[in-house]
C-alpha cells in the first residue's frame, strides 16, 4: 500500500510542476547551454541534413545566428526535425525554443496558436510542379488533375480556394511528410505536386530526372515564411526578431562575414551603433555589446545566407526576386538599429 501512496504523490508532484515554461526562455536556453530549434526534416535550401548529419539551409542558419548572438558560438543548437503537422504542438509544449521551419505567416496562426511570427526570412508563393510530358503550360489547364500536397499546410487550403475559384475539379491526395508527397508524385499517383515555389525547386532536385519536370508560371498565393516563438516572452521575441533584422541590416550596410572586423572599426554612426561601440543596444536586447558582429561573423549577412543556401551559390539557383533588399527592387526590409 505504501508503494501506491508514493506513486500517487509522485504523480501529483509531476502534475503540479508542469508549469508554464513561457517566460524566461533566454535564461532557460543559457542554463541548458543549447538552443532547441524546430526545423523541417529535409527540405534542400531551408533545412536538410547531409550524409554526415550537418544541417544546412536558411532556416537552420537563422537558428545558428541566434545561437551565435547568445553564446558567441553558432554550433550550440539542437535541431529538432518536425513534420508540418507536429510543428506547432512542439512549440506550444516547450519542446523547442524557436520554430524555424518554412512556416507561412497567417492571421490565424499568429493569434490562435499561442505563438508569434518574428519576421519574414523568405517571401514565397505557392506554385505547381508537373511533368513536362503532360504538356501543360498553365495552372488553369489542370482541370480534373490529381494533386499531391503535404497535409497541415496553408498550401492545402490555397489549393482548394484556387480550384474552386477557377471552377475546376481536382482530386487531392494529402501526405504527412514532404518526402511521401514527392514520392507519390514521382510514382505517378498524381499529375501535380503543389507547394511553395522554393520547395518545388528544392524537391525537384531530389527527383530522378529533374529536367523532366517543370514549375508552372502561376504563383497562386502569398507565403511569407518566418520563424515563430511562444507568446508571453517579449524579450525572447525581440531576440529572434532582431537576429534576422541584424542580418538584413548588415547586407544593407555592406557588412559581410569577411569584412566584419574591418567594418567594426568604422566611424560611421550607424555602424558604430550596430557594433556596440556607441550605445548599449545589445544589452537592451538582453544580449551582449557585440551581438551584431557575433551574428555576422558566424553566419554572414542576409544576402550571403540567401546565396549560399538557395541563391546563386547553391544548387537551387533561385533568383532573389521579392527577397532582394527594398532598395534594390525587393521587399526585404528591416527597421533601423538605433
Amino acid at each position: 500500500m505504501k508503494r501506491v501512496y508514493l506513486a500517487l504523490t509522485l504523480a501529483a508532484a509531476t502534475a503540479l510542476s508542469v508549469q508554464a515554461a513561457s517566460a524566461q526562455t533566454l535564461k532557460t536556453v543559457k542554463d541548458r547551454g543549447m538552443l532547441s530549434c524546430g526545423v523541417s526534416g529535409g527540405l534542400p535550401g531551408f533545412s536538410t541534413p547531409d550524409d554526415k548529419g550537418n544541417w544546412t539551409g536558411i532556416d537552420v542558419d537563422l537558428c545558428r545566428a541566434i545561437s551565435a548572438a547568445i553564446f558567441d558560438d553558432p554550433t550550440k543548437v539542437k535541431f529538432v526535425p518536425l513534420s508540418a503537422k507536429d510543428r506547432f504542438t512542439a512549440l506550444q509544449s516547450g519542446e523547442i525554443d524557436v520554430l524555424s521551419r518554412n512556416t507561412t505567416w497567417t492571421l490565424s496562426r499568429d493569434t490562435s496558436l499561442g505563438a508569434n511570427f518574428t519576421g519574414v526570412t523568405y517571401y514565397d508563393g505557392q506554385g505547381f510542379l508537373v511533368k513536362k510530358a503532360l504538356k501543360v503550360n498553365s495552372a488553369l489547364e489542370l482541370n480534373s488533375a490529381s494533386v499531391c500536397v503535404q497535409t497541415g499546410t496553408t498550401t492545402e487550403q490555397n489549393l482548394a480556394d484556387y480550384f474552386k475559384g477557377n471552377n475546376m475539379k481536382y482530386e487531392v491526395i494529402a501526405f504527412a511528410s514532404a518526402d511521401e508527397t514527392v514520392k507519390a508524385y514521382e510514382t505517378g499517383r498524381c499529375d501535380v505536386f503543389t507547394s511553395d515555389v522554393s520547395q518545388l525547386y528544392a524537391q525537384r532536385l531530389k527527383l530522378a530526372n529533374p529536367a523532366d519536370h517543370v514549375v508552372l508560371p502561376e504563383v497562386i498565393s502569398k507565403e511569407p515564411l518566418g520563424p515563430m516563438v511562444r507568446h508571453g516572452d517579449d524579450q525572447w521575441f525581440d531576440i529572434v526578431k532582431w537576429t534576422l533584422f541584424a542580418m538584413v541590416n548588415a547586407e544593407e550596410l555592406g557588412v559581410t562575414q569577411k569584412n566584419v572586423d574591418e567594418m567594426a572599426k568604422s566611424d560611421k554612426p550607424d555602424l558604430k551603433r550596430a557594433f556596440g561601440s556607441d550605445g548599449n543596444l545589445g544589452e537592451q536586447l538582453g544580449l551582449t555589446k557585440d551581438w551584431f558582429s557575433r551574428i555576422i561573423k558566424a553566419e554572414g549577412n542576409y544576402g550571403e545566407m540567401y546565396d549560399r543556401n538557395v541563391g546563386a551559390g547553391s544548387k537551387l539557383q533561385i533568383a532573389r526576386g521579392l527577397n532582394q533588399l527594398w532598395n534594390k527592387g525587393g521587399i526585404q526590409y528591416a527597421p533601423p538599429i538605433r
Binding site: 500500500m1 500517487l8 480556394d161 494529402a174 504527412a176 511562444r230 507568446h231
Partner: protein, 401 residues
C-alpha cells in the same frame, strides 16, 4: 409455549462495512475514500493546469472551432463534402472512412484467417506448408512496412490513367485506382428494391420454417427452389413491369483522369489489403488453436457418423472451437481498427489523417482534437468488444456451457 428460533440480529452495519471496505473493514473504506480523493485531485490539477497554461499563452481553446470552415478537400468521402464545409463535417468524413476500412478489413481478415487455419490443419502437405509459410512471413514483418510495400511497390507499379488496364471499356485499373461503372437510379428503382426486400424477408421466413420442421418433426423440406424464385424471379418480374431499376454510367478518360463512374482509390485498397492480410495471419493462428482445442474424439465421432470432414468441421468442431476463438479474435478486430490509423502514411483520409492531422495543424487545438479522437477510438473499440461479448455469450449459451 413455542419457542421461535431466534433470528440473528440484523447486521446492517457489518454488511455495510463489508460491502464498502471489503475484508479490511473500515480501514479499507478510508483507504478507498483517500484514494478516490487523491485521484480526483490529480485529475483536477491536470485539467486546471492545462487550462491555466493555455490561457497564459493565449492559445485558443474550447470546441468552437468545430463550426469553422475547413477550407481543404478530401480525396474520399462517403458523405457529400466540400472545402466550404465545417470541421465537424471533416470529423464525420474521417470517422466514416476509418469505419469503412475497419469493417471491410475485419470481414476480409476473418475470411482469409479461417481459410489459412484450415490450410494449416489440412492433411494435404503442400497446403499445410503454404499456410505455415504465409503465417510466419506475414506476421513477422512490421505492418507499416507491409503497408508501404502494397502502396509503393505493388499499386504504384500500375500504369497511368491513359494506359490503364481496360476491361470491356467499363472497368479501368490504373495507378489512380479502379474505376467502375456507376449505377444511376431509374424510375424502376423503387419497385425493384421493394421486390428485393420482400424476397429476402420471404427467404428468411422459409428458412426458419424449414428448420422448425426439421427439428420438431424431423421433416426435411427442400426450400432452395423457392428461395431462388423469391430472390431472383421476383425482382426480374418487377423489372419487366416497371422497367430497368438503374442504368450504368460508364467512365471516360477526360483530361487527366476519368470522368463519370465510381472510383476505388489505391490508398484504400492498399490499406485494406495490408490490414486484412496482416491480421489474417494472427487470426489463422487463433482459429487453429481453437480447432485444436476441441478433442479429436469429436472429429472421429463425426466421421463414424458418416459426416464428411467439411461437415464435421462445420457442424461439430467449429461451433465448439468458437468458444476459445472469440475472445482473442476480438483483440485482433480491435487491433485492426486501431492499426487503420497507419493510413496517414499513405495519404488515406482516415480520422487520424484528416482530423487529428490536418484539422489539428490548422486550428492548433491539440488538446481538444486529440481528446475527441481518443474518445472515438475508445468508443469504436468498446462497441466492437461489446458485440463480440454478446456473440461469445450466445455461443456459450447454445453449447450449454
Amino acid at each position: 409455549m413455542t419457542t421461535e428460533p431466534r433470528k440473528p440480529p440484523p447486521q446492517y452495519v457489518f454488511k455495510l462495512k463489508r460491502a464498502l471496505g471489503g475484508k479490511s473493514g473500515w480501514t479499507g473504506l478510508v483507504v478507498q475514500i483517500v484514494f478516490a480523493a487523491v485521484l480526483a485531485w490529480v485529475a483536477y490539477e491536470i485539467v486546471a493546469n492545462a487550462r491555466a497554461n493555455l490561457e497564459t499563452q493565449r492559445i485558443a481553446s474550447g470546441f468552437g472551432f468545430l463550426k469553422n470552415t475547413a477550407g481543404f478537400d478530401v480525396s474520399q468521402s462517403l458523405i457529400p463534402y466540400s472545402g466550404s464545409d465545417s470541421y465537424t463535417r471533416v470529423f464525420f468524413v474521417g470517422l466514416l472512412n476509418t469505419l469503412l476500412v475497419a469493417v471491410i478489413g475485419i470481414v476480409f481478415a476473418t475470411v482469409i484467417g479461417f481459410v489459412l487455419a484450415l490450410c494449416r490443419l489440412s492433411p494435404n502437405w503442400l497446403l499445410a506448408r503454404l499456410g505455415e509459410i504465409y503465417v510466419e512471413i506475414v506476421r513477422n514483418l512490421p505492418l507499416l512496412f507491409q503497408l508501404l510495400f502494397w502502396y509503393l511497390a505493388v499499386l504504384a507499379a500500375l500504369p497511368g490513367p491513359r494506359q490503364s488496364l481496360n476491361l470491356f471499356n467499363a472497368f479501368f485499373l490504373s495507378n489512380r485506382g479502379l474505376v467502375i461503372p456507376r449505377p444511376i437510379g431509374e424510375p424502376g428503382l423503387d419497385p425493384f428494391l421493394v421486390a428485393l426486400g420482400i424476397g429476402i424477408v420471404g427467404s428468411l421466413a422459409l428458412r426458419y420454417y424449414a428448420r422448425r420442421a426439421l427439428f420438431d418433426r424431423g421433416q426435411l423440406i427442400r426450400i432452395w427452389p423457392y428461395v431462388l424464385g423469391l430472390l431472383i424471379g421476383l425482382p426480374l418480374v418487377t423489372m419487366l413491369i416497371f422497367g430497368l431499376p438503374f442504368m450504368f454510367e460508364l467512365p471516360q478518360l477526360k483530361g487527366f483522369n476519368f470522368a463519370g463512374g465510381s472510383r476505388v482509390i489505391p490508398e484504400f485498397v492498399a490499406l485494406v489489403v495490408a490490414l486484412s492480410t496482416y491480421t489474417a495471419a494472427f487470426i489463422a493462428e487463433i482459429v487453429r488453436a481453437g480447432i485444436l482445442s476441441v478433442h479429436k474424439g469429436q472429429m472421429e465421432a463425426g466421421s463414424s457418423l458418416g459426416l464428411s470432414r467439411g461437415a464435421t468441421l462445420r457442424l461439430i468442431v467449429v461451433p465448439q472451437a468458437m468458444r476459445v476463438i472469440v475472445p482473442p479474435l476480438t483483440n485482433q478486430y480491435l487491433n485492426l481498427t486501431k492499426n487503420s490509423s497507419l493510413a496517414v502514411a499513405i495519404g488515406y483520409p482516415d480520422l487520424v489523417s484528416v482530423f487529428a492531422g490536418t484539422t489539428l495543424s490548422q486550428t492548433g487545438q491539440a488538446i481538444e482534437i486529440i481528446a475527441i479522437t481518443m474518445g472515438v477510438y475508445l468508443m469504436i473499440s468498446l462497441v466492437t468488444s461489446a458485440i463480440m461479448s454478446v456473440y461469445g455469450w450466445r455461443i456459450n449459451r447454445s453449447l450449454g456451457a
